[in-house]
């Protein structure tokens, strides 16, 4: 009996020592680095969030580093072979396959981020972060597309409501447009293939015309058919047949958005990320309305995209533990609420985006409404795949190519990119 007691006592002692060692390790001060691109409201929000996080975790210091948006992907990429860079990194979801492939990101540990919970809690598009059966990153907020319309121009043209169907969209825009190419003075639709439009064509119109942009595994293009051609015809007709607008109406990086803000465009298709810019810039009444549907089948569709936070291979030991804590904090519901209030991006959580007040919000409502049916493209070479589509559209708009041939060309060059990536 005595022996048993001694043993128990010894075991307790040993356990105590182990747990002391463990908690001792966790209490050691640790500094982790967080990277995101330079965007005023995001930087200041994260700075505030870090303060809050550090107050709750006094042993962890988070250092935020920012780089200009245009150089951000290069900065992240070049940090990979150098074996340097952040512990927690913010990246566009479309870059994930390349970075996961590079072994740059660690899979999120399932015990801290249970997959079932992720799939139940997040908007469905977040599934694109699941690669090879594992989640590698999670978003704080997500973005969808919608129609921004100029209420003053609508009123002047005698239109009472934003269009619900593409048919109404065409007739409304036709009432607003003034002038003809190449000397328009007001556009009905601020068409811009290299803005958000090519996403609309690929992820929304192709589906609405009865097709699928890609095969289920994402390895094969599936739009080189009747549906793809009809979608391409419909989109390019907006400029060539109905003459509702012209690309690059205003010079500059955000041509269509700048022109809309200047009050020279009836409607544009843009993302929720544009809300703040338009809110500050537009000096007229404007509204947001969900992407139109075809009168024939009323099928809804949207393109969702998001920036995710992932943990890099640089984070090991204490840094890994701290990074997991920070990632949990960055994706928490509370942070998502702060993000909506300060950055103006809609929460990635289903529960929050299902919030009644948000759904009824005149600006954010239409974006939130689209979350359940928004799809995200799995990009393997975002720049290359984008060029394939933009060039295809431009051959129709600028060179009179037939939509069928344009779709064929896009499919050929995009398939080549996909093949190169998936060849191993």
């Amino acid at each position: 009996m005595k022996q048993v007691f001694t043993r128990l006592a010894l075991m307790t002692l040993a356990l105590g020592a182990v747990s002391a060692a463990v908690s001792g390790a966790a209490a050691a001060p640790v500094t982790i680095t967080y990277w995101q691109y330079d965007y005023a409201s995001k930087v200041s929000t994260v700075n505030d969030l870090i303060k809050k996080f550090q107050a709750a975790n006094p042993d962890i210091t988070v250092k935020q580093e920012n780089f200009p948006y245009d150089a951000y992907s290069q900065k992240v990429a070049s940090s990979v072979p150098a074996g340097q860079g952040p512990d927690v990194v913010n990246m566009f979801y479309g870059w994930l396959p390349q970075y996961v492939d590079a072994g740059y990101l660690q899979p999120l540990p399932e015990k801290d981020f249970p997959f079932k919970q992720i799939e139940a809690n997040y908007a469905p598009m977040v599934k694109t972060s699941k690669i090879g059966g594992k989640y590698y990153a999670l978003p704080t907020a997500v973005r969808t597309l919608a129609v921004f319309y100029n209420k003053d121009l609508f009123k002047a043209a005698g239109i009472a409501q934003p269009p619900r169907t593409w048919e109404d969209f065409i007739s409304d825009a036709g009432k607003i447009v003034k002038g003809t190419a190449p000397r328009f003075t007001t556009l009905g639709f601020g068409i811009q293939p290299d803005g958000q439009d090519y996403h609309v064509l690929r992820e929304v119109l192709v589906r609405q015309f009865g097709g699928q942009p890609y095969s289920k595994d994402g390895k094969t293009v599936a739009y080189n058919n009747e549906a793809g051609t009809r979608a391409m015809t419909f989109y390019t007709d907006l400029a060539t047949k109905y003459k509702l607008g012209v690309p690059n109406f205003f010079p500059g990086n955000n041509s269509y958005r700048d022109a809309f803000i200047a009050g020279k465009v009836g409607m544009i298709i843009d993302g929720s990320f544009a809300v703040n810019t338009i809110k500050t810039g537009a000096k007229f009444g404007w509204g947001v309305s969900p992407l139109p549907v075809l009168a024939a089948n009323k099928q809804r569709g949207n393109f969702g995209s998001f920036w995710v936070n992932g943990i890099t291979k640089n984070a090991t030991g204490d840094k890994l533990a701290a990074s997991i804590k920070f990632l949990k904090f960055m994706t928490s519901e509370e942070t998502q609420r702060t993000w909506l209030a300060n950055v103006g991006e809609i929460p990635a959580s289903r529960k929050l985006s299902g919030d009644d007040a948000l759904r009824k919000d005149p600006v954010f409502g239409p974006f939130v409404y689209s979350l359940p049916f928004a799809s995200s493209t799995v990009f393997v070479d975002e720049a290359g795949q984008r060029k394939a589509w933009v060039d295809a559209i431009n051959t129709v708009l600028l060179q009179g190519n037939s939509p069928a041939n344009a779709v064929k060309a896009a499919a050929a060059s995009e398939q080549k990119i996909l093949d190169e990536y998936y060849k191993k």
């Binding site: 992907s73 290069q74 990429a77 070049s78 990979v80 072979p81 390349q98 970075y99 492939d101 590079a102 072994g103 740059y104 190449p182 000397r183 328009f184 003075t185 811009q192 290299d194 803005g195 012209v246 690309p247 690059n248 109406f249 205003f250 010079p251 500059g252 990086n253 041509s255 070479d381 720049a383 290359g384 933009v390 060039d391 431009n394 051959t395 600028l398 060179q399």
Partner: protein, 308 residues
């Protein structure tokens, strides 16, 4: 004690010169080492990278021999970029030399406000390229640009300029010529000033006309300036990048790759799509082209000029 022999050696005739030489080489070594590390080493690295399927995001960089060069032969965008780069050079270099020389000759005739005019012509050269590109976009905007407004006013059809695959290259070249003009003017003003006045005076006494004096005296004696302009101008057009990027920022090199240059394509492949190996192969090709053209130009354009 050991220093005495060396001091004695330095006192020998010629030792000062030797010491100066050593000093000169010591100072030259600094930029030389710098150039070796910053310029030559990366060049040879590019040569090596071009033989690999090098992607900075991959852990394995397999050796592929000349596969990248083979890929080049079938790459439509590269072909387009090569043709475009040649077009830029063929349009830009003669245009900026002719306009630069003409402007310099006219400025040479002006007596009043010469400094002001020189400054005005030089201003585009010191204006940030990005800013110029933006102003250019607005000037040539099909919808709102003053150029089209003028065309419409003259009852001419408005043009799509930068938004058209057939006009974008020429519009871009025009911007580069306009920017380089000031530098060309300064070069030619210096070249003209170096020609002794006595030649013109002698020609005048012999009854030579103004155009004879230009063709027989000015132009031949400007040969070194022209060679310099052609060589540096050609190299700068072969490396054309910033203007092209900023004139169509959301579709760089577009529309439809119609303004794409080799340098921009290299950048897009290496830093946008991380295909470093393939981009290196193109870099090597561009390097060989620039080297060959420069050697040919120096061989055939240079004539000995004796200012007497």
């Amino acid at each position: 004690m050991t220093t005495i022999p060396s001091i004695a050696r330095l006192r020998r005739p010629g030792s000062l010169r030797r010491r100066q030489t050593i000093t000169a080489y010591t100072f030259l070594a600094v930029p030389l080492v710098f150039f070796l590390i910053v310029r030559f080493l990366p060049t040879f690295t590019a040569l090596r990278l071009s033989l690999f399927d090098w992607n900075i995001l991959k852990e394995v960089q397999p050796y592929v021999g000349f596969a990248n060069y083979d890929k080049l032969l079938h790459d439509g965008v590269f072909g387009r970029a090569l043709v475009n780069t040649a077009l830029y050079t063929i349009i830009g270099v003669p245009a900026q030399i002719v306009l630069g020389l003409a402007t310099a000759l006219l400025l040479g005739k002006i007596r009043k406000l010469q400094g002001l005019f020189r400054a005005l012509y030089f201003a585009p050269y010191v204006t940030p390229i990005v800013a110029s590109a933006w102003v250019w976009q607005w000037l040539f905007s099909p919808q709102f640009g003053p150029v089209n407004t003028l065309l419409v006013w003259l009852h001419l059809p408005p043009q799509p300029f930068l938004t058209s695959p057939s006009q974008a290259l020429a519009t871009t070249a025009a911007l580069v010529v306009w920017q380089n003009l000031g530098f060309q003017v300064v070069l030619f003003l210096a070249g003209l000033a170096a020609i002794p006045r006595t030649y013109y005076e002698a020609a005048e006494i012999d009854g030579a006309s103004g155009s004879q004096a230009f063709w027989k005296i000015t132009l031949p004696l400007l040969n070194p300036t022209i060679v310099f302009s052609v060589v540096t101008g050609t190299i700068s057009y072969l490396q054309l990048f910033t203007q092209v990027v900023n004139l169509n920022f959301t579709d760089q090199g577009g529309p439809l790759s119609s303004t794409m240059t080799v340098a921009l394509y290299i950048y897009q492949l290496a830093f946008g799509r991380f295909q470093t190996g393939y981009a290196s192969a193109i870099t090597v090709v561009l390097f060989v082209i620039i080297l060959a053209i420069t050697l040919l130009q120096l061989r055939f354009l240079t004539r000995r000029v004796d200012y007497g």
